[in-house]
Amino acid sequence: MNTPNWLRAIGRVSLLIWAALGLLFLFTPILITVIYSFNEPTGKYNYVWNKFSLAGWADPLKYPELTDALIFSLKIAIVVTVIATLLGTLLAMAMVKYKFRAKGVIGAILILPLTMPEVALGFSLLTLFVAVNWSRGFVTIIIAQVMFSVSYVATTVRARIRGFDWRLEEASLDLGASSFRTFRKITLPLIAPGVVAAAMLTFALSLDDFIITYLNSGLDNTFPIQIWNMKRSKIPVQINVFSTALLVISVILAITVVVGGNRRSRKLAGLTEVSSASFTS
C-alpha cells in the first residue's frame, strides 16, 4: 500500500499506451494492405508507394491466374466447410452428450493436430499420398484441410454446447414428438450458434491456410499458393485489391452474424473459443 498515487497513475497510463501500441502493431499491416490497393507501382512489385491510383480496382481481373486461384480457393473453402462442420459437430455431440470408453483417447486425438507444426502435419500427409501413389490436387487439398479443420470445429462446438440441458430432447420424445421433429425443434436450435461460429471459422481457416495446402496441392493453385508462385516474377496491386475486398466482405458478414445473433455469448469470434478451449479445458 506504500506505492505513491502518482507512480500508480503513471503505471496505469503506460499500460494503456502499451496496449494501444499493441493494437497499432496488429492493425498497421492490415491498413497497409488496404492502402496499397490504391497504389500505382513503378515496377512489377507493389512494395514501394508511388502514387494514388484506382487502376487496380478498375481492372481487378487483369491477371486471370490470380482470379482463377481465388475462385478455386472459394470452391475449396465451401466444400471443406460443409464436410468439416458436419464431421466436427457430430464429434462434439458425442463428446458432450455421452459417457463412453476411450473418450480420453478420442479427446487427445482431437487436440493433437493443433499441437503439431503445419509443415510436419502437411509433409506427413504428403508421404501417405506418395506411398499410395495418389496424385495431388483438388481432392487432396480437401482431405488435408478437413483433417485439421475437424479438430477446430469439434473444439469450438464442444465449448459452445457444453452444459446444455439435453433432457429437453428426452422430454420432447416423451411428449410424442418424432425424433426428426425433436432434432429440428430442440437439438438444432440449441447447437446452431456454435455450429455457425465453427463454420465461419472453418471457412476463414480454409481461405487462409497456406503451408499444409501447399505441400499437398500438386499443380493446383489456391489464392495463397498463386501469390507464392508469383513472388519472384510480380506482385501486382490486384493481390491487395482482392484481399481488401475479402476483408470488407468478411467484416460485413461477421457483423451481420454477430448483430443477428444478439446474444452476448455469441459475440466472441469463434477463434477465441477454439484457442482457449483446445488447451485450457
Binding site: L15, F25, V96, K97, T127, D209, F210, A254, F279, T280
Partner: protein, 294 residues
C-alpha cells in the same frame, strides 16, 4: 463480464466454459460411436496413419542414422529455428498479455470492438499479411526511415533479410493466438477475488502477482503453444522477409519436399521437429501445472 453482472449469470457462464463434459451413458452403447465414426475415421486415415508413414519413411535406407545425419547437417538451422520461435513467443507475451489485460479489465462496452480489432488480421490471408510486412520493412519504407533517423541503422543498411525482420513478422503473424486465450482466462477471472485481496491489504501489484497472474496461467499456456508451434514450423516469413542467414527448418522442408531422394532425411527432420515440440509441450505443461494437456 464485469463484476457488476448478476452472480447467478456469472456462475453459469463459468460452468459452461470450464466445466467438464462427463455426459451420460448412451441408451445404446454404439450411439456415440456412430457420431464419432465419420470424423474419427477421417482423422485416423489422414492424421494418425500419415504419422506412422512419416516415421517409417524417416527410418528407410539409413535407419536411425538418418536422424544423426540430419541433425549434424542442419544443427545451425535447428538451433536458429528454436531461437526465433522462442524470441517471437516471448515478444508476443510482452505485447499480448498487457493488451489482453487491458481489453479484459478496462474494455468496458468497447470490449467486443477491441477483440474484433485483434482478430482482424485473420481476415487477410497469411501470405498477404506477410507481404504487408515486406512493404513496411522495404528499403525506403517507414520502419527503415525511422531506424535511420534514430541512428540505429547506417544509411546504406536495410532491415529486410535480417533476423529482426523475420522475428518481427513471426511475432506479428501469431500474436492474436496469444491475446485471445489470455483474454479468455482473464475475462472469466472472478473479480471478487481481487476485491478480497484489496480488503486484506494487498497492494495491486501483489494482487496481480498472487491472484491475476496464476489464474491466467492456463490462457498464457495456451497462447504460448499457439504462438510457438506455428512459429517453429514456419517457412513463409523467412522466405519472404529473410535471407540465407535466416533459414529455418520449415524452409529446408519446403525447398526439398518435391525431391524423391531427400525424403528419408526430410521425414527424419519433420519427425524430429514434431517430437521436440511435443516433448516441449509436455514439459511445459508439467511446469505450469496444467496436466490436462499432457
Amino acid at each position: 463480464m464485469t463484476a457488476a453482472a448478476a452472480p447467478s449469470r456469472f456462475r453459469r457462464s463459468r460452468r459452461d466454459r470450464g466445466g467438464d463434459d462427463t455426459g451420460v451413458p448412451a441408451r445404446r452403447w454404439f450411439t456415440p460411436w456412430l457420431l464419432i465414426a465419420p470424423g474419427g475415421l477421417w482423422l485416423l486415415i489422414f492424421f494418425i496413419v500419415p504419422l506412422f508413414s512419416l516415421g517409417r519413411l524417416s527410418l528407410q535406407s539409413g535407419g536411425l542414422s538418418n536422424y544423426s545425419t540430419v541433425i549434424s547437417d542442419n544443427s545451425t538451422v535447428i538451433i536458429r529455428t528454436f531461437i526465433y520461435a522462442t524470441i517471437s513467443t516471448i515478444a508476443a507475451i510482452i505485447i499480448g498479455y498487457p493488451l489482453a489485460y487491458v481489453i479484459a479489465t478496462k474494455g468496458g462496452k468497447y470490449k467486443n470492438f477491441l477483440l474484433a480489432l485483434v482478430v482482424l488480421p485473420f481476415f487477410v490471408t497469411y501470405l498477404v499479411r506477410t507481404l504487408s510486412w515486406k512493404i513496411l520493412l522495404f528499403d525506403g519504407g517507414p520502419v527503415v526511415g525511422i531506424l535511420h533517423s534514430l541512428g540505429i541503422l547506417n544509411e546504406n543498411q536495410g532491415v529486410l533479410g535480417s533476423p529482426f525482420a523475420v522475428i518481427a513478422a513471426l511475432t506479428y503473424n501469431f500474436l492474436p493466438f496469444m491475446v485471445l486465450p489470455i483474454y479468455v482466462s482473464l475475462e472469466k477471472l472472478d473479480r471478487r477475488l481481487l476485491d478480497a485481496a484489496a480488503d486484506l491489504y494487498s497492494s495491486p501489484a501483489r494482487a496481480f502477482r498472487k491472484v491475476t497472474l496464476p489464474l491466467s496461467l492456463p490462457g498464457l499456456f495456451a497462447g504460448t503453444l499457439l504462438t510457438f508451434i506455428p512459429a517453429a514450423g514456419d517457412f513463409v516469413n523467412s522466405e519472404l522477409l529473410g535471407s540465407e542467414r535466416t533459414v529455418m527448418i520449415g524452409n529446408i522442408i519446403e525447398k526439398n519436399f518435391g525431391k524423391e531422394f531427400f525424403r528419408p532425411e526430410l521425414s527424419a527432420l519433420s519427425f524430429m521437429l514434431m517430437a521436440i515440440i511435443l516433448i516441449g509441450v509436455i514439459i511445459y505443461a508439467r511446469l505450469l501445472g496444467t496436466e490436462e494437456i499432457a
